[in-house]
């Protein structure tokens, strides 16, 4: 984990925290969203405090003969894997990798997607034509193929490169979504009113158009994090994601897959972690969408 990635994560959290009080109040009125935040907070705290929470070194092979594929017990809370490593420690340290890859990858993707979509939808004409044909090309290229090319170039992906590659290959759908939303928003009266007040294109897009498109962007972002988590899992499963012996939830599932029948806990727990986070994100996305729409206040 490098310093810049932690910094980026902190900035993202600070931005989220700066959201208006009213938004927060509406958000926590949503029962499932509160649960979602609880689950995410649990994983975030566990990830940050990993050295304190994990009883063992996640990379250490404790006893390759006697402690291989042990079921959960008091000493090894979630059991051990095929290399006799403590699963709980690996889930805890894996949360760091998986959450950072998922969060930052999606941040890159959504930022890029929203920017491209807003520019294409607002300016239309040649900007729209050029950008959307580019998106068509991006959607047509299989992502695995692009990632395999990246592997071929750099052998093994470092974490920042992995985050960037995932981010840079998953924004196409978002940009389509945002463009469609912007196309209809730009014709609204309040956009004309803002221009009549002397607002420039940047101000109109950032203040009047994008905030009104927040709902689909947020929904696509929360779903996107889940997708990126699964993509990272898939890449690790294929052996081109995070380098072993570093733990990530995806690579843990990959390691455990061959013994699924005899030692199901090796895949169950990282899989459960992914499922929980994805569900929590969906709940949070739902809550955010409602909270960001001031019209929901009265109902």
């Amino acid at each position: 984990m490098t310093l810049p990635t932690w910094l980026a994560l902190l900035v993202a959290l600070a931005l989220a925290g700066a959201a208006a009080r009213a938004v927060r109040r509406r958000f926590f009125r949503h029962p499932t969203a509160t649960w979602g935040v609880g689950i995410l907070a649990f994983f975030a705290i566990v990830a940050v405090a990993a050295p304190l929470v994990a009883p063992f070194d996640p990379r250490e092979q404790l006893d390759i003969i006697r402690l291989k594929n042990q079921p959960p017990s008091w000493t090894y809370m979630l059991g051990t894997d095929v290399y006799s490593r403590d699963l709980w420690s690996r889930v805890v340290f894996g949360a760091r990798v998986s959450l950072v890859v998922g969060g930052l990858g999606t941040l890159v993707a959504v930022t890029l997607g929203a920017t491209v979509g807003a520019v294409a939808g607002y300016y239309r004409r040649w900007a729209d034509a050029v950008l959307m044909r580019g998106v068509d090309v991006g959607l047509a290229l299989p992502r695995i193929f692009v990632l395999l090319m990246a592997i071929a170039l750099w052998d093994r992906l470092s974490l920042p490169v992995l985050v960037l590659t995932i981010g840079l290959t998953s924004w196409f759908g978002t940009s389509r979504l945002v463009r469609a939303e912007v196309l209809s928003l730009r014709e609204r009266d309040f956009v004309a009113a803002a221009r009549a007040l002397g607002a420039g294109p940047a101000r109109v897009i950032l203040r009047h158009v994008l905030p009104n498109a927040a709902a689909p962007i947020i929904v696509s972002a929360t779903l996107g994090i889940g997708n990126v988590l699964l993509l990272e899992a898939g890449l690790s499963f294929l052996g081109i994601g995070v380098a072993p012996p570093t733990a990530s939830w995806g690579s843990m599932i990959a390691d455990g897959a061959p013994t699924l029948a005899t030692a199901p806990w090796t895949t169950l727990f990282p899989g459960l972690a992914i499922a929980l986070v994805v569900m929590a994100l969906n709940a949070v996305g739902d809550g955010l969408r409602d909270a960001l729409d001031p019209r929901r206040e009265d109902t």
């Binding site: 609204r188 009266d189 309040f190 004309a192 009113a193 803002a194 221009r195 009549a196 007040l197 002397g198 607002a199 420039g200 101000r203 203040r207 009047h208 905030p211 009104n212 927040a214 960001l292 729409d293 001031p294 019209r295 206040e297 009265d298």
Partner: protein
């Protein structure tokens, strides 16, 4: 006479329709002057080019499909707005020339508080800081007569009634103290009692702030009550222009005459309302000669062939685009 603040000369705004079915000449050679401090009423029925004229002044016509033809002049304070670069134009929008839109329901951004939106122009043009902007918004809310401004400033548009939203729109437009206010049907979407309140408010603010108002409406009653001078538009052209009293006294153009006749009168016995026969022709194919001739009760051969210019009737500032001014004897119904 003082210099006009806003001089519109030969404004032509055309729209290229899709699939090349022709060019809609929505505004076709409109000229008028707006003097400091006065209220100029711009009247006409739907589709006659009123709104396009007002949007053209701020250059808010969507391009494409619309464009303002070369040769048009819109001069504000001696500067041709049509020749300004985008940043210079933005410095005028909202600051020197502001606009109130027709629909208070949809002209406010639903995701920001009204305070944010009222202060927006001041933030853009005067670089006001957060606190100052909020104070200014409260001040404006007080000015436009909204009760509890301190509380209302944090409300969202959907929490306000139509009349209050229109007051907010007015506050938004006036926050920088513009010299010209363009009010595009400011009362059309409101019910009658609220209409009267809003018009009174506009009147009071105009007197307090000394701005010129271009009042666009299809409601002759509003014009009679508010405007100093009136410009009547038909089919993308100015058909008559006069001081308000003179216009209502003695409408010169048959179209204006028809409009007046169509207003129900409270002091006359109840009878069927008079209507102008026919419909406004399509902007892609204006009739030849005088554009009103197919609907005009006085039209004769000359009207179908030759387009009349704006003809003065001799009295100050009363002119109409009608051949009757040269041949008054023909003003008898067949």
């Amino acid at each position: 006479m003082t210099e006009p603040l806003l001089r519109v000369r030969d404004l032509k705004t055309y729209f290229v329709t899709e699939r090349g079915s022709g060019t809609a000449r929505a505004v076709d050679g409109v000229s008028f002057d707006l003097y400091p401090g006065e209220t100029l009423g711009l009247v006409g029925e739907s589709g006659c080019g009123k709104t396009v004229t007002s949007l053209s002044i701020l250059r808010l016509i969507p391009e494409p499909p619309g464009h303002i033809r070369a040769g048009s002049v819109i001069e504000f304070d001696g500067r041709n707005l049509l020749a300004l670069a985008a940043p210079d134009l933005r410095a005028i929008r909202g600051n020197q020339i502001a606009m109130i839109f027709q629909e208070p329901m949809t002209s406010l951004n639903p995701v920001f508080t009204v305070g944010d939106q009222i202060a927006e122009a001041a933030v853009i043009h005067q670089r006001l800081a957060r606190k100052a902007a909020r104070a200014r918004a409260i001040e404006m809310l007080t000015l436009v007569g909204i009760p509890d401004p301190e509380e209302r400033v944090d409300h969202y548009p959907h929490q306000l009634s139509g009349g209050m939203r229109q007051r907010v729109m007015i506050a938004m437009a006036l926050v920088c103290g513009p010299k010209v206010l363009i009010a595009d049907e400011p009362t059309t979407a409101l019910d009658v009692t609220i209409q009267a309140q809003i018009l009174e408010l506009l009147d009071r603010l105009q007197q307090e702030l000394g701005m010129a108002v271009l009042l666009i409406t299809h409601d002759l009653g509003v014009v009679a009550g508010q405007a100093d001078r009136v410009v009547v538009m038909y089919a993308g052209q100015v058909v008559e222009t006069a001081p308000t009293a003179a216009l209502f006294d003695r409408p010169l153009h048959p179209y204006t005459e028809g409009l007046m006749a169509a207003v129900p009168r409270i002091d006359a016995p109840r009878s069927r309302l008079v209507a102008i026969p026919g419909q406004v022709p399509a902007a892609t194919a204006w009739p030849s000669g005088c554009r009103f001739h197919p609907r005009c009760p006085y039209a004769w051969a000359k009207c179908t062939l030759e387009e009349p210019p704006l003809l003065d009737d001799g009295s100050t500032g009363h002119a109409a685009r009608c051949w009757l001014l040269q041949e008054p004897a023909r003003r008898t119904r067949a």
